[in-house]
Amino acid sequence: MDTTKQQKVAKETKEVKVTSEKKPVLSMLPNDDVRQIMWRFQDRYDLQMVVQSTRSVARGIVARLVAEGARNTHEWNDKKQQFLTALDEAGVTAVFMDPEEGGFMAGPKNLALALVAYELSWVDAGAATCSLAGNLALAPIHEKGTPEQKMTYMKNCVPPQPGEKRKVWRGAFALTEPLPYVGVDTGVVSGKMRIAEWKEGKEPILQVDKRGRFITNMGFANFVTAVVDSDDEKIKGSCMVILEDGDPGIFDKGSPTLKLVHQLSSTHDPVLSLKVPANRIIGGYTIKDGVIIPNYNHSEVIEAVFRRTRVTVALMSSSKLLSAIEPVIRYQRQRFRGGTAGQPGSPRYDLGLQMKEDSLHRLIDVWATGEASASLGFAAARLFDFYDSIERAKDKSFSEQGIKGPRAQMKALKQPQAEALEYLELSKKPDKGKDKARFEKLGNDTLVQFLINDSLANVLCPACKLWNTGYGATMMREAVSLMGGYGITEDCPGFLGQKWMDIQLEATYEGPEAVQRRQLSLTMTNEIFLAQFRQWIHQMREIANEKPGTGACTLASAMELWLWSLEHLQNAKDADGKSVFQSQRQGALFPFTDALCWLLASRYQILDTLELEKKGPENPVLAEALPGFVQFFTDLCHVQAARTAGEVAKICAELVYGYNRHPSWDGARECCFQGDEVDSLEGIMPGMAESGRGKSDVIEKDGSHPKKAGPCVHFHGMETFIKLRAKLDGCLSGCRLAKDRAAEALTEVMIPEALDYPV
């Protein structure tokens, strides 16, 4: 045998060996050890305890309430009150508070609250909403309140310790008003305040009138943080104000909202007309020329609040998807048991519906989406924990310099923008060629670091809220459908039908999808964000080099396509000469923001899987099962990256080409060959007359042409796009093999005997 032949045989043998290699198997569903590593709290026992506490309430009292039909009434009642008490007793209510306020956790709590929301939503999102809405009421005070306000309200909202005799305070956050006012457009407020009494040297008394709509926790709240606008020339602008049920006037909880979802939470349309001292204005006020000027207008307060609380809402939807896996697998396997067709030991008995590829593949899609959305959500929560301290340092620095108000701050942040970009540029360079002193200086610069993290937070927050809840709702429907008719019954294991309904509300509250898309359309073009995005493309390529099965290469190609499309569309004009990317052109901007969300979710999913692979070996509990987990999660990443690539390619192609007018036959003579031209070439190139007509658009002497809409489109200037898109298509190689592998793992994975909460 010659050398070449030997090499060929050896290569073939090697290839055969590789493809037949047995992959590690997924032994069990992922447990706490796995999740703690993936979501980065394996070293935080305070968070691990919060998870256990919340889980005990969720899978205990909350599950029992749902199973007993407590959702079947809109009224707040003693039965529902039980789980609030349980949350108090388990310490979940106090998670939001700092130790000096009676809580038990110091520092930022975004990840902690995200985990609470995740655990409660595993069973019922209404319960999660109830818990989170209490925090939402406190959040304006926490973010912008005066020290006195913080101490009063945070402390009173901590449940009494054993032996302590006092009533726990519960709050509601009142922004939304009866239509047509506050909702999507939070700039318009109909709630009003005016000065009721202002005695010399005394605290001014305000008359506050606010009607709320869909206000969570209102059925039992004894204070409300309400958005109001000035109705008095002696008060400037808007603010948030604290109203208590003991204040003089009307504190009417109003009628309960007739929700079809989240019925374990209390929602009312309150009517509030109260007299309160001006020191209830959140963040305080100053008096200038006899006018009360709130230190923070309502937009400043709610921006600080929502940018954090939206992340927890996003994770409520992720939790639902992941909670569906176990009940669906059990249903699929047991589908034919008890019948006469399949005896124990037969594939029909053991695997049930899992004999069918479709059942498995669809469940893999649900699981992959759940993983990606959880990864994105928890990444956002962690970012906010990190960002909190930077933001506070920035605020402190500005306060010391006397820089106040959004405009002055924006001006002050202009100059460090170049430095932030410089820092990102330096971070790409290897140590050898890097100006280390400069890099270190910029790394320690509060404003530079603020800008970098702020740009990221401004993207991740709306992205996870938009994608997790919006696309999550679509996939939740898929999960329900996998349970057959059982899926839409009240006693479906895992309450999947209820979760499907509930997820629609998550896509709506704290800003519906349009609000998130609008925000993303502004923040995704921030140069500091885009500089990081470009780095991520390199990062994905590097990961792909090390771990080719993750789909990272596919994702990198999709990111390149998105970036090229963005740069193209930012300068593109439509067929009528109008700019494609302008703020009112939501038909172009919004789908593009959706594409970005897909990319982000897939990226964080890959990073979480790599984290598991890296840190897993440190946990002896995982040692044996780790390779199976890593393999399975890697396959899920690949599946999700491929799905992402498809979505991104579809959206980009539609936008890049869609605003060009399709050529028509009118006036096509200039761009098409003429029949006699082609015929005249026949003498020089035999066959030209026929092949020319076959391959090009030819207009005959009599004006006739091929029967189609118009001459084919020419792609001048689109060569790069075409190249990137073709490359992306090729990058999909192997994704279906990964899906097959993951699907097979579903048939072998061990699941518990029964769900750990009642149905």
């Binding site: 032994s27 069990m28 447990n31 706490d32 050890d33 026992y45 305070d46 691990q48 305890m49 919060v50 998870v51 256990q52 506490s53 005990s56 199973a67 349980a86 007793e89 388990a90 310490g91 106090a94 998670v95 038990f104 956790m105 310790q161 006693d491 294991p493 946990n619 002896p620 509990v621 995982l622 040692a623 044996e624 099962a625 061990m750 699941i751 518990p752 005997e753 029964a754 769900l755 750990d756 009642p758 149905v759």
Partner: protein
């Protein structure tokens, strides 16, 4: 009693009973499939003992509770995220297998050795608590053997109630046949009490207690000593889960009376 009790509770983890518990043969003998990964709970009987201990300590000033656990330390750490929130106690970890296939004699020896090493333990005030049975190794002999090794001869099994009398004596209710109790009065510590279910509910989680406990527990888990269990001389001819008892049925809205009838019919076969 002015100085309080020193209560040592012996207890460890068992696999969550809702999990699929499938016996397999491992190189080290019988084991459960995916045993390392199975979520765990505190052995229910040991749990009752711990909650009774916590209650007793709370109502007797100067008392202190230790939980001595023999189990894989990584899994014990996970378990403590729940248990540490229930009551204040100090954890003593002996790193070893918590599988149901270890020799009770060896376990008792390791636990007694760990108890002897507890700093500041006043043996004259010692109440040794544990479960009268276990969800994983139900030989029901470990507590007695630990007691003997520590020289404690006042031993009570199947305890459901303990009352500390004003004269320092202990009034103890032990389960006997036919749903009846044997009431005993013991002069005082030291004593061994192997608990049945007790009569106190599981305390709710209290993260403040958890945070305080964990500050000491994490180092205790890190420095856990290996149990040093000798290779078992026990030969297992076969291991299997009682099939009938593993048939999980999920039912709703059935009155207690109906459930009782159902169980009775099942017992009758």
């Amino acid at each position: 009693m002015t100085t309080g009790y020193h209560i040592v509770v012996c207890g460890t983890l068992v696999p969550d009973p809702l999990q699929t518990l499938e016996p397999v043969q491992s190189p080290a003998g019988p084991a459960l499939k995916n045993e390392a990964m199975l979520p765990s709970v505190l052995d229910p009987w040991a749990g009752h003992a711990l909650y009774e201990a916590a209650h007793l300590a709370k109502s007797n000033q100067g008392s202190k509770v230790w939980l001595v656990s023999l189990g894989p330390k990584a899994k014990l750490q996970q378990l403590m995220m729940t248990i540490a929130q229930k009551a204040p106690f100090e954890l003593v970890v002996v790193d070893g297998s918590a599988s149901g296939f270890t020799d009770s004699y060896e376990i008792a020896k390791a636990l007694a050795g760990a108890i002897e090493k507890i700093q500041g333990l006043d043996r004259s005030r010692l109440l040794l608590f544990g479960g009268c049975a276990s969800a994983s190794r139900d030989a029901s002999v470990i507590m007695q053997m630990i007691g003997e090794r520590l020289g404690i001869h006042d031993q009570f099994l199947g305890v459901d109630e303990l009352k500390a009398e004003t004269d320092g004596s202990l009034k103890i209710a032990e389960r006997v046949e036919g749903g009846k109790y044997q009431m005993s009065v013991c002069a005082g510590p030291p004593a061994v009490l192997a608990w049945a279910t007790g009569n106190l509910p599981e305390p709710p989680n209290n993260p403040q207690i958890g945070m305080a406990n964990m500050r000491n527990m994490m180092p205790a888990i890190q420095k856990a000593q290996p149990a040093g269990l000798a290779a078992s001389t026990i030969q297992y001819a076969g291991v299997e889960v009682p099939k009938q008892q593993r048939q999980t049925r999920i039912v709703k809205d059935i009155p207690a009376e109906e459930i009782a009838k159902d169980i009775l019919n099942w017992l009758k076969g």
